[in-house]
């Protein structure tokens, strides 16, 4: 169990392609860290640098306080679970699991065979026991004698997990381990991995492109884009207080609604709507372009009957709109509405009165809304909560 410290870690490939730039992060001992971001964001590269599979261009990586830049993977005491499982096809499940341990024995060489037969045998027995124990916890004991090609995807994933577990390394690394499984199995395995972490209390670094997986698994998560760390925080922080436009858009489903416009005299003004910004939350906002971000669950849809026909009133938080599309999720529904040319998505309780093409009033709740500097990567503009 160990801490991991990354200090200004960069990775540049030939041709000046920057995969990771200046990542500085500190993971605590026993923490479950998830690296998340769209594909090509550098999360896997970062993981592989921790593993030692990728050379570090600049900066340092320290595991358990020891800088490991120049250590080969085998000396870093890490174990990794790969996306395609990477089970040795010519070895049985048992051999696959024991392989890493056999190498680390004290009496593995010829001298062991000749002069320390007893110790050697004891070591081998210990390995057998360990493999068996681990297999039992993962429920793959009956598969031990099989070859990987005779296993299902889920079983292979378990074996890959077992292979890492049995080594009892300081750090577990996961490189998108669940992305090849079907949805149901993925959720099942997710819970299992979470449970494993609870039990072993080991440091784990987990890479995924699936923000939901990240949110459910992580103690803390690192959101990355184009090789740059966008935010490092708990899932709650990332959701509630995204560092910027990108994080806000990446974390949470359905995706946050963004409305381009400007802040002007305590008002947010876009082509299609004007919203008064509560002064308590955003005191003294300087005028200028900005983006308003509202999560779909902060939108409410009111029927004209309830609110009265007052389409001219746009200073408030209710705006008339047309229903464009309805997606039923069972207990709730996602409704896409158009305010003029602006499309917003609302997640609401089931409401049978809504029909596609009908008109509604949209109530925009600003309690959990955010303002960002304009542009794709615009930083969140500080509000009263930040000070507190």
């Amino acid at each position: 169990m160990a801490t991991i410290e990354l200090n200004r870690v960069s990775k540049t490939y030939s041709g000046d392609i920057r995969a990771v730039s200046e990542a500085t992060l500190a993971f605590r001992d026993g923490e479950f860290i998830v690296l998340v971001g769209p594909s090509g964001c550098g999360k896997s590269t970062l993981l592989r640098m921790i593993a030692g599979l990728e050379a570090i261009t600049s900066g340092t990586v320290a595991i358990g306080g020891r800088v490991v830049n120049d250590l080969p993977p085998k000396d870093r005491d890490v174990a990794m679970v790969f996306q395609n499982y990477a089970l040795y096809p010519h070895m049985t499940v048992e051999k696959n699991m024991a392989f890493g341990l056999l190498r680390r024995r004290k009496h593995s060489g010829l001298s062991g065979l000749l002069f320390h037969a007893t110790e050697r045998r004891a070591e081998l027995a210990a390995i057998d026991r360990k493999v068996l124990d681990t297999a039992r916890t993962l429920g793959i004991e009956p598969l031990l004698a099989r070859l990987p090609r005779a296993l299902s995807g889920g079983q292979r994933q378990r074996v890959a997990l077992g292979r890492a577990l049995v080594r009892e390394p300081q750090v577990f690394l996961f490189d998108e381990p669940l992305s090849n499984l079907d949805a149901r199995l993925r959720i099942e395995m997710r819970a299992e991995i979470r449970e494993l972490h609870r039990r072993t209390k080991a440091s784990m670094v987990y890479v995924t492109h699936d923000q939901e997986e990240a949110m459910t698994l992580a103690d803390r998560m690192v959101v990355m884009k184009f090789g740059v760390v966008q935010q490092f925080g708990t899932p709650g922080e990332c959701y509630a207080r995204p560092a910027n436009h990108f994080v806000a858009g990446f974390v949470g489903t359905p995706v946050m609604n963004f409305i381009e416009g400007r802040v002007d005299d305590g008002m947010f003004v876009s082509t299609d709507l004007r919203v008064t910004l509560p002064a308590a939350r955003w005191p003294r906002m300087p005028a200028g372009p900005a983006t308003l971000g509202v999560r779909p669950d902060q939108l409410r849809l009111l029927h004209s009957a309830e609110a009265g026909v007052d389409s001219m009133d746009s200073s408030g938080t209710s705006v008339p709109a047309t229903v464009r599309a309805i997606e039923r999720l069972g207990d709730r529904m996602d409704v896409a509405v158009m305010i003029g040319g602006t499309r917003l998505t609302a997640r609401i309780e089931n409401d049978d009165r809504l029909v596609e093409g009908g008109s509604v009033l949209v109530h925009i709740g600003l309690g959990a809304a955010h303002l960002f500097a304009s542009g794709e990567d615009g930083a969140r503009l500080a509000d009263a909560h930040d000070v507190a």
């Binding site: 599979l53 993977p73 085998k74 890490v78 395609n84 990477a86 089970l87 890493g100 190498r103 292979r163």
Partner: protein, 287 residues
Amino acid sequence: MRSRIGKSLIYALLIAGTVTFLFPLWWMVAVSLMTPEAAQAATVRGGLTSLVPTDPQWHNYPDALMQMGSVRWTGFLDALANSVVVTVLATAGTALSSSLVGMAFARMRFRGSRPMFLVMLGTMMLPAQVTMIPLFILFRNLGWIDTFLPLVVPAFFGNAFFIFMYRQFIAQIPEALLEAARLDGQGWFGIWWHVILPLTRPVTAITAVFTFIFTWNDFLAPLIYLQSDDQATLSVALNSFRNQYGGITKVNLLMAASLTTMVPCILLFLAAQKQFIEGLGKGAVKG
């Protein structure tokens, strides 16, 4: 769902081909069992009539082997032992070195690997006759003449064709497998031994069979490098059935001896052919 006619057609082709392909072997067997007179007549005016030996002379086999070399039986036994030693060493050497080099070219980044790889492919185009005399001069200066070294040592330095085959095959092994092995504590050598070698068994089978057959049948190299009578390999010893003018005096014995010396090649091929195909096919590599 294949029609019955299609299936019969396939079998017809397979059987016709088999008859054609096995024919040489059958003819050799037939001639090897003939009396000298019948054998001679068969090679001169046989047509299709000479394919069935009417009165099999089984003693041709011991007779033929006995006559190899200058001392009864010893010549054959020496030649057999020599062939086995040379072939086994050359085969092992070629497979080991070619897979190592193939792994370097397939998996390891080192500057100059690409030009070197191209040069290596280029060496396949070189006719052996070009290097024959210079190599002889080299081996003579090393004091290797009349030893097995010129036949065996070069094999330990890889063979371009097999290196190429290994490279192509190893390049298809998923990277993650190698990375897993590295994390499991293996160095490059460990990866080669524990992961690459087991996974490239089909290539090794091909390499072994090809090299074995080539070395076993090779005539020119042993002829040139070996001198003492008791150092001769089987292919050279067989040549004693040829005469000054390229003719054959004892065709029946020659065939008997030839067939006997081919037995190991045939058996090896039969033993390895499963590996050959199954391994080269799908699935073996893809976890």
